[in-house]
């Protein structure tokens, strides 16, 4: 399929409400042309509403949405030239695969030859050419997902939006489809807004990730930026970083339950800190503790086998327990006493949480 030029999406001050419930509040978000932007958040955070508002399915209370220089204000869904892949797909059950995919090009008034070509291109893109004449009810979950994707991209929208595209598909298949999805995005070259509640999915497909919480944008950044510097405890928790604790910081020194840490650039005051995944390791004679690292003594309370590594839970006196991956060498037994090394350079200070109630 030929590369289509993606449009720049700019969302400014967007507010959407369902009656008294504000689903999206004063949201600022922009996706660059051709960029894959993932919107990540728990269910009910407003991420699906954002897509629906951009598609013209929900009227905004306030704010503007632009595709390049064109304001979408007041435009009906059929006038917006965007593609939307719905959660649970919403395929037309009374039409064949090819007819589902042909719907968009047909509505845009293309002649029959063009429609046929666009359908063939879209089906080839998702590797479904053989199933063109099948009925929707005869398809498996993975096949339906691909039909929904083909249907959304067939009219070559300048912005493609996906709402939990892998949501209704079992875990094993998800991994494979995730790779397929990213390669489809790359071949299309269109701007993509990908909504998901699954952090692995977001980090795997996106150029940048927008984390949403309670109708607001919590953090926006590349997967690496999020992972290296989660802004709040919510983001840290959502990314699966569960070593968060209170710290009192004064003159570059933080007193935490895990001891005194040197954090030269940290501001003074009461803060929360998070340990990044590579902040902790088990020391052994081959790799002794470095001077910059802080030593922690603890006892093994649980071990969980995780394929290529073992996750060892260590209870440290007077501090939250820690979980450390052990990759090779000697895996400690239950109740073993061991020494951990904590690297202060992989400790981040978090911004205070906003009030929990929006």
């Amino acid at each position: 399929m030929a590369q289509s030029t993606g449009a720049r999406l700019a969302v400014d001050g967007l507010t959407v409400a369902y009656g008294p419930v504000v689903a999206v509040r004063e949201l600022e978000l922009a996706a660059e042309p051709g960029e894959v932007l993932a919107v990540l958040g728990p269910s009910g955070c407003g991420k699906s509403t954002l897509l629906r508002a951009v598609a013209g399915l929900e009227p905004p209370l306030a704010g503007t949405i632009h595709l390049d220089d064109r304001s979408l204000e007041g435009l009906r869904p059929d006038q917006r030239d965007v593609g939307l892949m719905f959660q649970e797909h919403a395929l037309f059950p009374h039409r064949t695969v090819a007819d589902n995919v042909a719907f968009g090009p047909r509505m845009r008034g293309h002649d029959r030859a063009t429609v046929r070509r666009l359908v063939a291109d879209a089906l080839a893109l998702v590797d479904l050419s053989e199933l063109a004449d099948r009925g929707i009810t005869e398809l498996s979950g993975g096949e339906r997902q691909r039909v929904a994707l083909a249907r959304a991209v067939a009219p070559r929208p300048r912005l493609l939006m996906l709402d939990e595209p892998l949501g209704s598909i079992d875990r094993a298949l998800q991994q494979r489809l995730l790779d397929d999805l990213r390669s489809v995005f790359d071949r299309l070259g269109t701007t993509v807004l990908h909504v998901t509640h699954d952090q692995q999915e977001a980090l795997a497909v996106a150029d940048r990730v927008a984390v949403m919480r309670d109708a607001r944008l919590e953090q926006l950044g590349t997967p690496d930026q999020l992972w290296r510097a989660p802004r709040t405890a919510f983001v840290a928790d959502f990314l699966g970083l569960d070593h968060v604790a209170d710290a009192r910081i004064r003159a570059g020194r933080a007193s935490t339950p895990w001891g005194e840490l040197d954090l030269p650039d940290a501001p003074d005051g009461e803060h929360q800190v998070v340990l990044l995944p590579d902040a902790l390791r088990v020391t052994d004679p081959d790799r002794p503790r470095r001077d910059t690292e802080v030593a922690l003594e603890g006892r093994v309370t649980a071990r969980r086998f995780a394929g290529d590594h073992v996750r060892v839970t260590v209870a440290v006196p007077d501090a939250p327990q820690l979980t450390v991956p052990v990759w090779a060498g000697r895996v400690p037994e239950l109740d073993d006493e061991l020494e951990l090394a904590l690297d202060p350079q992989a400790v981040r200070v978090l911004e205070p949480e906003p009030d929990a109630t929006p």
Binding site: G56, P77, G83, L84, E88, A90, F92, F103, P155
Partner: protein, 560 residues
């Protein structure tokens, strides 16, 4: 679903079936067979010439043509008005929606005579429409009088059958994922294109089956046409009635009935075929299918539909009440007082109070008969998973499609001589009413009986319950509520039944609908006022029964 069928000896099933089968044989098959016999062989010898004579008779042909085209027009009109209503009630959330959904069902079960009277009051020269016109335009105002016009018949038919379309189509619409329609919109379809290309094909089974039902009902329309129609505005039903009671031409009536039976059976076959195509599994995802109206267009659309409901459904009934209070020179309770005293007994042949009593008595007896016959049949159909169950199931639905007039006429010519001589018996009325109510009893009980998990019965049996105890301890409590619904429904149908009752009711034992019809046939403001008062009373009785049923939330009244 795991089969709820209880493995029972075939003997037991047949014993259960004995009563319903005998009832059907004597009171349905025998009368209909007699009609067909009389139609094909008026003098005892097979003489197809009689049918041929009837078919070539220009006046019969014009009646048949009128019957067909008014039914077609009524069906199309009901669909055009009902489908937007179905969308409003199944897709939009607003205050009072649930109440409205129950409310639109009321007209469907209202007695035809009441509906006829109501539209007579609404569309006549003294209607509020004309009052308003006079107020607005003074003496120059034209007087709108739609009585004895096709327009009146069509409007009344839409009034009756609105609920059939709204509930059947709306029922399916609420099973369709709204995102399917949204997907079409995002892909570039306008509202109309999305409806035509996506919603309409998905709704086709419900639209087709509700159209078949509306066609069937309007094709065999009797009470409404009898009251609102006039010369040249008669359906086959009305013609059968006229041939029997005025022309005393039984062969003609029989031939007309045969003609109508053929049409009805054809329509039923089409309906049965469409039913099989209806999707059974839900198409909904996790999304809610109802939401508040958005934007000016949708709010306007909702308001328009609410206005249709108010004007089409509520106004005739309100006018009915208003007319019942109109004494000719101002408002008062004179009509109501006259109903309860017997000063007009000579005109009614009996005091009005007695008509009320007759109706209640006949209605209660009919309900009892319908519950016994329908209950036994439903139990038998549940116990037997095979072909026999299907035959019983279908067989009991046939009287529903057969017109009331055919049943009444059949009673008249078949049950007045040996072997079954019930001539003049007051029992004929409740039996005819029960025959018409039984399909509804079966339709209500069968799904509930089938839904009882067979393992419940097995568990009770293993715990030591005898088969009789199992029925009492397991089936009865579960079915109890459904039986109550069936009883209320039967009662409403029996009390309002007109087509069959008018044939078999004895002159001195009229029911309320028959009394209303007689009152309407007499001149004078007082008679009209009394007819309105009695119609109001009858409406109140049936509406109460139906709204009580809706509270119990079993069964879908008016949904096919």
């Amino acid at each position: 679903m795991t089969s709820a069928a209880r493995p029972r000896r075939r003997g037991t099933t047949l014993a259960l079936l004995a009563v319903p089968l005998a009832f059907l044989a004597v009171f349905f098959v025998w009368p209909v067979a007699t009609i067909v016999g009389t139609g094909l062989a008026p003098e005892g010898d097979l003489e197809l010439g009689a049918i041929g004579r009837v078919l070539t008779d220009p006046s019969v042909r014009s009646v048949a043509w009128f019957t067909l085209w008014q039914a077609t027009a009524s069906t199309v009109l009901t669909l055009l008005i009902g489908i937007p209503g179905a969308y409003a009630l199944s897709r939009l959330e607003f205050r009072g929606r649930a109440l409205l959904q129950a409310g639109v069902t009321v007209p469907f079960v209202l007695p035809t005579v009441v509906v006829g009277s109501a539209f007579l009051a609404l569309l006549g020269p003294r209607s509020p429409v004309n009052t308003a016109l006079t107020v607005l335009l003074g003496d120059a105002a034209p007087t709108l009088d739609l009585r004895r016009t096709v327009t009146a018949i069509l409007i009344a038919h839409v009034f009756f059958n609105y609920a059939v379309v709204v509930r059947t189509v709306g029922g399916l619409w609420s099973l369709i994922d709204p995102r399917v329609e949204e997907a079409a919109r995002v892909l570039g379809a306008s509202r109309w294109q999305a409806f035509r290309e996506v919603s309409l094909p998905l709704l086709a089974p419900a639209i087709a089956s509700s159209a078949a039902i509306v066609f069937l009902f309007t094709f065999t329309s009797f009470g409404v046409v009898l009251i609102l129609g006039g010369p040249g505005r008669a359906t086959l039903e009305v013609e059968i009635h006229r041939a029997t009671t005025q022309l005393l031409d039984l062969p003609l009536a029989s031939a007309l009935a045969v003609l109508q039976l053929i049409a009805v059976v054809a329509a039923l076959l089409v309906y049965g075929r469409l039913q099989r195509r209806a999707p059974t599994q839900s198409l909904v995802g996790s999304a809610a299918t109802r939401r508040p109206p958005r934007g000016r267009g949708e709010r306007l659309f909702l308001r328009g539909n609410l206005a249709v409901v108010a004007i089409l459904l509520a106004s005739p009934l309100l006018v009915l009440i208003e007319r019942s209070l109109d004494t000719g020179d101002g408002y008062g309770l004179a009509n109501w007082r006259a109903l309860l005293t017997d000063e007009r007994a000579t005109i009614l042949a009996v005091p009005a109070g007695e008509a009320v009593r007759n109706s209640l008595l006949f209605g209660a007896s009919a309900t009892l008969i319908a519950l016994v016959v329908g209950g036994l049949a439903a139990t038998a159909a549940t116990s037997e998973a095979g072909r026999l169950a299907r035959v019983v199931d279908r067989g009991l639905m046939v009287p529903l499609g057969t017109s009331a007039v055919t049943i009444g006429f059949g009673f008249l010519i078949a049950l007045n001589r040996p072997p079954v001589d019930l001539r003049g018996s007051p029992l004929l009325v409740p039996i005819a009413q029960a025959l018409i109510a039984t399909p509804f009893v079966v339709r209500t009980l069968l799904p509930v009986l089938r839904s009882i998990d067979h393992r419940l019965r097995e568990a009770a049996a293993v715990l030591g319950a005898t088969p009789r105890r199992v029925w009492r301890e397991v089936d009865l409590p579960i079915v109890g509520r459904a039986a109550l619904v069936a009883a209320g429904f039967s009662f409403a149908i029996a009390v309002g039944e007109f087509g069959a009752t008018v044939f078999v009711a004895r002159a001195n034992l009229p029911t309320m609908p028959v009394a209303i019809f007689r009152l309407l046939g007499r001149p004078g403001v007082a008679n009209f006022g009394q007819a309105m008062a009695m119609s109001t009373l009858l409406m109140a009785v049936t509406a109460t029964a139906i709204l009580a049923i809706d509270r119990l939330r079993i069964g879908q009244v008016g949904r096919f």
